[in-house]
C-alpha cells in the first residue's frame, strides 16, 4: 500500500466571533485559495474531498451541504463528510488515497462556535437518557477531570499555569492565534476560578475558525511540495462514554493509538488539548520526553475552532516538515467529553 503525504495547509484566523454564516463558506473560500496557490493544484485536480463539521454547532440540519458552495462543486465532485473533527475526515481521505482510487485529496473542517453557547451545546454529546438531562457542561466536566489529577498528586495548579503561560508565549509567533502574550505565573494563579480548579487561562477560548489540508500520494507529493510531510502512521481509538467507568486522569485511547503509530524520536508534538491539564495527560499517554517540543503554535489554548482544531494540529505539525524545521513530528486530535476519542499521527520528511 502506498504512503500519503501532507502537501498543503491553511487556516482561517482564530477569532471569538466571525461575521460569516454558520455554513463556513466565508471562512473556507479564502483558505481554499491559499492551498491552491501553495500546491499549484486547482479544484479540478482534487481527486477526493472530505470535511468535518457539526450540525449542532450550526444549529441546523445538513449544515455541511451549504459548505459545498465554497468548493464550487460543479462539475460534480467525489466527496464525503464526517460529523467529527476534520482530523477524522483526513483519516477517511488517507484511506481513499491508500486504496489507489485517487492521488490527491482536500480535507477541510469548520466550526462557528459563537453561534450558540458552546459549553451548553457540548452537554448534548452526553448520554441523552441519564446524563444530558442534568446539563453537565463541558468546562465543568473538565474541571472534575482536573480535580481528580490534583487530588492524586499528578499535577499542581502551578503546573497548569505553566502550560498556559508557555502556550500564550508561543502563540505570539502565530498570526492566526486568538490569545497570545507574556504572562507571569503568579498573576495567572491570582485569577479567579471559572470551574474550580480551572481558571480562564486553563480553558481554550470559544473560537470560530476553519482549516484545510491537501494530501497527495507520496509518489506524486513532490509535484506539489518541495518537502512533503509523509504520514508514516495514523491511528485513532475511542474510550467508553461512561465518565464514571474511566480513570479520567489517563487517556487509554491516546495511549493505544500512540503505541500503534510509534512515537519514538519525534521532535515536535502538536497536541489538541483544550484544557491545560489535558496536555499533561496527553504527554504521559504518548510517552513524550522533556526533549519533545510541545505545541509551538500555541496549541488549542490559543485558539480552538471546533471541528477544525484537530485538523489544524496536523497542519501545524506538517508545516514544521514542509518548512524544513523538523524531520519527524507528531500530531494529535481529540473529540468528545474529557478526551473521549483521540487520533494520533506521525509525519516524517
Amino acid at each position: 500500500m502506498r504512503d500519503v503525504a501532507v502537501v498543503g495547509f491553511a487556516q482561517a484566523p482564530n477569532v471569538r466571533s466571525t461575521p460569516g454564516t454558520t455554513n463556513g463558506v466565508e471562512m473556507l473560500v479564502p483558505i481554499f485559495a491559499q492551498v491552491y496557490k501553495q500546491t499549484g493544484l486547482s479544484k479540478s485536480d482534487i481527486g477526493f474531498w472530505c470535511s468535518g463539521s457539526s450540525d449542532y454547532l450550526a444549529g441546523r440540519a445538513f449544515s455541511f451541504i451549504s459548505a459545498i458552495d465554497a468548493i464550487g462543486a460543479f462539475p460534480p465532485i467525489h466527496e464525503s463528510h464526517v460529523e467529527m473533527d476534520a482530523a477524522w475526515a483526513l483519516y477517511e481521505a488517507w484511506l481513499k488515497i491508500r486504496t489507489g482510487e485517487v492521488d490527491t485529496a482536500l480535507v477541510y473542517g469548520f466550526g462557528k462556535s459563537s453561534a450558540g453557547q458552546l459549553r451548553r451545546v457540548l452537554a448534548l454529546q452526553l448520554d441523552p437518557y441519564t446524563v444530558a438531562p442534568l446539563w453537565p457542561d463541558s468546562v465543568s466536566i473538565a474541571g472534575l477531570q482536573a480535580r481528580l489529577g490534583l487530588d492524586a498528586g499528578l499535577w499542581s495548579e502551578k503546573d497548569l499555569a505553566e502550560v498556559a503561560a508557555r502556550s500564550r508565549a508561543d502563540a505570539t509567533r502565530n498570526p492566526h492565534a486568538q490569545f497570545s502574550g507574556a504572562s507571569e505565573i503568579a498573576d495567572l494563579l491570582d485569577a479567579p476560578y471559572v470551574a474550580d480548579p480551572l481558571r480562564a487561562h486553563d480553558i481554550a477560548p470559544v473560537t470560530d475558525g476553519a482549516a484545510v489540508i491537501v494530501l497527495a500520494a507520496a509518489g506524486r507529493a513532490h509535484e506539489f511540495a518541495e518537502r512533503p510531510a509523509v504520514i508514516t502512521g495514523i491511528e485513532h481509538r475511542v474510550d467508553t462514554p461512561v465518565l464514571g467507568a474511566r480513570d479520567l486522569t489517563r487517556s487509554p485511547s491516546t495511549e493505544a493509538a500512540g503505541q500503534a503509530v510509534g512515537t519514538g524520536d519525534v521532535e515536535i508534538a502538536e497536541l489538541h488539548a483544550p484544557f491545560t491539564h489535558q496536555e499533561l495527560i496527553l504527554r504521559t499517554a504518548l510517552g513524550l520526553g522533556d526533549d519533545v517540543r510541545v505545541n509551538p503554535s500555541g496549541g488549542a489554548l490559543s485558539g480552538n475552532p471546533m471541528f477544525a482544531a484537530g485538523l489544524a494540529r496536523i497542519g501545524e505539525a506538517a508545516t514544521r516538515i514542509l518548512t524544513g524545521q523538523a524531520s519527524k513530528v507528531l500530531a494529535h486530535a481529540t473529540s468528545g467529553p474529557a478526551l473521549q476519542q483521540n487520533l494520533v499521527a506521525v509525519l516524517e520528511a
Binding site: A61, H81, E92, L95, S335
Partner: protein
C-alpha cells in the same frame, strides 16, 4: 491501483416501526448489529473497527450520538468513525467501511446506520431557517414534488406510473418480515384514490417515517473466502453537486449520472439493464423509480417509466427494483441507504427469503440525499469481480 478485495460477510436489520418505544437507541442498534454478526459468523474480537452513519443529529436531539453509543457499538478501545452525508449517508457509511478494508488497514469492519425518528420531529428539524438559505418549509415531499411534476412534463409519462411503483413496492414489503408497511392487497386503483399531499404526489406514494437500524460486517478477501456465500464488492461510487445553481438539472442530476458511469466502468458493466439482476434504489416518493432508472443509465432519458409501466421492475420482471419493499415500505432515514446496500448484498448471497430474485448474481445498491445532490452506490456480486486480479484492478 492497489485496491484490496472486500466482501459483505453478513447483514442484519431491525424490525421497522413508526415508534420503537420498546428500545433505546443503543438497544435499537444492537438489534441490527447482533443479527449482522450472527449472519457473518463473527464475534467481537473479530471486529477491528466500527463505522457508523445517520442523518442529522437534530432528528434525535443528540450531538454526535456515536460518542455515547461507543460501548453499545462494541467500539470502545477500537477505531470509530461517524459518517454524515444527508439521506445518502447509509450508503456512504457502507462505502467508508469498505474502504477501511480495501485500503488494507483492517480485516473485518462492523458498519451500522440508524434513525430513531420518533425521538424528535423530522419536519421541524428540516424547517429551521438559517440566514441566506431558502427554507424547505413543506418537508421533503414539498421540495421534491416540483421535480416529479417536471419529470412527468418532460417525459410524457402517464399519471398512473407512480401508483404502479407504490403498489409494487408495498406488495414486495409484505414479503419482508422486517418492513414497516406491509400491504399485500394494495392496488394501483387504491393508490390513485389516496389523498394528494403535494401535487402530483399522493399519500400512498410517500415513504413512512420509521425507527430502525441496519448493520453489515465487511471483510477482506481471506475473511470473505472463509464464510459461505459472501457478497463481493465489485464497484463503488460517490458524487456530490451543490443544492442550487443556475442550470442545475434537478430531475436528472449530473452527480448521479457521473456516479453511475464511474460505477459501471469499475464493475466492467456496459449494459446495466441486462447485466444487473436486482436493484435496490432509493425511492422515497414513487416517481423516483422511473427518474432514477434514467439517471442510473438503465433506460435512456425520458423512458424510465416505460420499464415500470411494462411491469419489468416487479419481482419477476426483467429488472426487479426494490424487491425488499424499498424506502416506500421502511424509511429510517439514516439507515435507509444502508438497507438498500445490504438488501442488494442479501440478493446475491441468496438470503432474501420470500423476496429472493431467482439466480441473482449481481445487484445494485443505491442511495441519494440532500436536494438530490449526494449519491452513493455499489455493485455486489456472488462471485469475485472478474476484472480484479488479486491486489490489482
Amino acid at each position: 491501483m492497489a485496491k484490496q478485495l472486500a466482501a459483505v460477510l453478513g447483514t442484519g436489520q431491525t424490525h421497522h416501526r413508526a415508534k420503537r418505544t420498546d428500545v433505546s437507541m443503543p438497544g435499537l442498534l444492537r438489534e441490527a448489529i447482533d443479527r449482522a454478526m450472527a449472519d457473518a459468523q463473527v464475534e467481537w474480537p473479530d471486529i477491528d473497527a466500527v463505522v457508523i452513519g445517520k442523518a442529522p443529529d437534530l432528528f434525535e436531539g443528540v450531538m454526535m450520538p456515536e460518542l455515547f453509543l461507543a460501548d453499545a457499538l462494541g467500539a470502545t478501545g477500537k477505531p470509530l468513525l461517524r459518517v454524515h452525508t444527508a439521506g445518502s449517508v447509509g450508503g456512504s457509511t457502507a462505502l467508508v467501511a469498505t474502504s477501511l478494508v480495501q485500503s488494507g488497514i483492517h480485516r473485518r469492519v462492523l458498519t451500522v446506520a440508524f434513525e430513531k425518528q420518533s425521538e424528535s420531529n423530522a419536519m421541524w428539524a428540516l424547517s429551521i431557517a438559517p440566514p441566506f438559505t431558502m427554507p424547505v418549509g413543506a418537508g421533503a415531499g414539498g421540495y421534491f414534488a416540483p421535480h416529479v411534476r417536471s419529470y412527468i412534463r418532460r417525459s410524457g409519462a402517464p399519471e398512473h406510473v407512480g401508483a404502479i411503483v407504490a403498489a409494487k413496492d408495498r406488495r414486495n414489503g409484505a414479503l419482508n418480515p422486517y418492513a414497516h408497511l406491509k400491504q399485500a392487497d394494495i392496488t394501483v386503483a387504491k393508490v390513485r384514490s389516496s389523498q394528494v399531499l403535494w401535487d402530483p404526489i399522493r399519500y400512498d406514494e410517500t415513504c413512512p417515517s420509521s425507527d430502525g437500524a441496519c448493520a453489515m460486517v465487511i471483510g477482506d478477501e481471506a475473511a470473505g473466502d472463509a464464510v459461505p456465500g459472501a457478497a463481493w464488492v465489485h464497484a463503488t461510487a460517490m458524487r456530490t453537486e451543490p443544492t442550487t445553481f443556475a442550470g442545475r438539472d434537478q430531475v436528472n442530476p449530473q452527480a448521479g449520472r457521473e456516479a453511475a458511469a464511474a460505477l459501471w466502468r469499475e464493475a466492467g458493466i456496459t449494459d446495466p439493464l441486462s447485466e444487473i439482476d436486482a436493484a435496490e434504489i432509493y425511492v422515497p416518493f414513487s416517481w423516483f423509480e422511473p427518474m432514477w432508472l434514467e439517471n442510473l443509465g438503465f433506460m435512456p432519458g425520458g423512458e424510465g417509466w416505460k420499464l415500470t409501466e411494462a411491469g419489468e421492475t416487479a419481482l419477476t420482471g426483467r429488472l426487479p427494483v426494490n424487491p425488499s419493499g424499498g424506502v416506500l415500505s421502511s424509511n429510517p432515514i439514516g439507515a435507509s441507504g444502508m438497507l438498500r446496500f445490504s438488501e442488494a448484498a442479501k440478493q446475491v448471497m441468496g438470503r432474501a427469503g420470500d423476496y429472493q430474485v431467482d439466480g441473482a448474481r449481481r445487484a445494485l445498491g443505491h442511495a441519494y440525499g440532500g436536494g438530490s445532490q449526494y449519491f452513493a452506490m455499489w455493485v455486489v456480486g456472488s462471485a469475485k469481480p472478474r476484472c480484479a486480479v488479486r491486489g490489482r484492478w
